[in-house]
Symmetry: C2
Subunit: 205 residues, 2 copies
């Protein structure tokens, strides 16, 4: 994934390698220019990476299904409780949350994606569609997004400033569905681990 080019070049040095727990005392607090923080960075690259990564999970589910001689789409319909969404709907929900979040933060009308997928192959297509949509956003479109009033159909007309919308609603909701999709695979014996969730960290050093 490309990092955006807007990082200033004169950053403080990273924590030295003998400080395994990191930044503690590693450097002074850095005053940054307005605009260094932009909700693009908190959304588009994160959603793109994590949604794309579901395909790795589906690959592992397919390998598991093949080894055990069952149809991987049985897992597409698997749930952790009878009144909970199955895997396919968890992935659809994560896709929708990503789509709605970037649209609302930038004041756009999101496209409609009917939840018609039933198979892992169809879920891959849904992921590609949403990732392509995320790729159409530009960093500058998120200027001021942290204060833009954002709402959701079940908020009864009430709204939150974009920063609160993101951290109190959108990211919890996105990770809620993404982790539950992961947990459904985990419960069904697919060999996923946390390092299949926390992937491709954009280290600076």
């Amino acid at each position: 994934m490309q990092r955006h080019p807007a990082r200033p070049p004169d950053l403080p040095p990273p924590a030295p390698p003998d400080r395994g727990i990191g930044s503690i005392g590693a450097g002074p607090s850095v005053a940054v220019a307005s605009g260094a923080m932009n909700l693009y960075d908190a959304t588009v690259p994160v959603f793109t990476k994590l949604l794309s990564n579901i395909e790795t999970w589906i690959d592992k589910a397919a390998a598991h299904a093949e080894a055990r001689k069952f149809d991987v789409d049985v897992i597409a319909g698997a749930r952790l409780a009878p009144d909970q969404y199955p895997f396919v709907r968890q992935v659809q929900s994560a896709c929708d949350q990503a789509k709605f979040t970037v649209a609302k933060l930038t004041g756009k009308e999101p496209p409609s994606h009917p939840d018609t997928e039933k198979t892992m192959a169809e879920l891959r297509q849904r992921i590609h569609t949403v990732v392509a949509y995320l790729g159409s956003f530009k960093r500058e479109e998120f200027a001021g997004a942290e204060e833009r009033p954002c709402s959701h159909s079940w908020m009864g007309g009430k709204s939150l400033p974009g920063g609160d919308y993101l951290h109190h609603f959108a990211l919890p909701n996105f990770h809620f569905h993404l982790t539950t999709a992961y947990d459904i695979l985990r419960h069904n014996g697919v060999s996923v681990g946390k390092m299949d969730y926390i992937v491709d960290l954009p280290f600076r050093a």
Copy 2:
């Protein structure tokens, strides 16, 4: 929960109530003064609310256990897979992630909390301890946190700027453990739903 007092008073009006899906076209993009976005808002109130809310889940687990005549601490040890952390360790991990995140973003040394809890009652105490620690942080301590180099013991000495640390690592990790704790309850028949996860949204209007 108290909202921080630093919001500028001259905000745009919220979306009108007849725009159920929210901000689309509801107002212009708003340029905000530097400092309006502060990672305190993305961490301390969110972690405090969501960790405290686990007690509501434990209350529901206790009611379920009492109705079915089993010891609720059986659920404290429940897992979704034999090689996955049980509920108690998922909650401990979420507590630790919250603690480490606010410490690293502000350049502090976090306190050590040995993972000795085995019961729901002990988990409640662990939550209280971490929530009290979160409450000791002030918004101004997060100035510049988005660019502060942050690391974690398993990053091999590498670091991320605080904003990336938060959105690529800390929040995914926090919600990963919190949602898995939730999913363990859900799988064991406790009557929790998504509205027990996405709680107390700080609506502006």
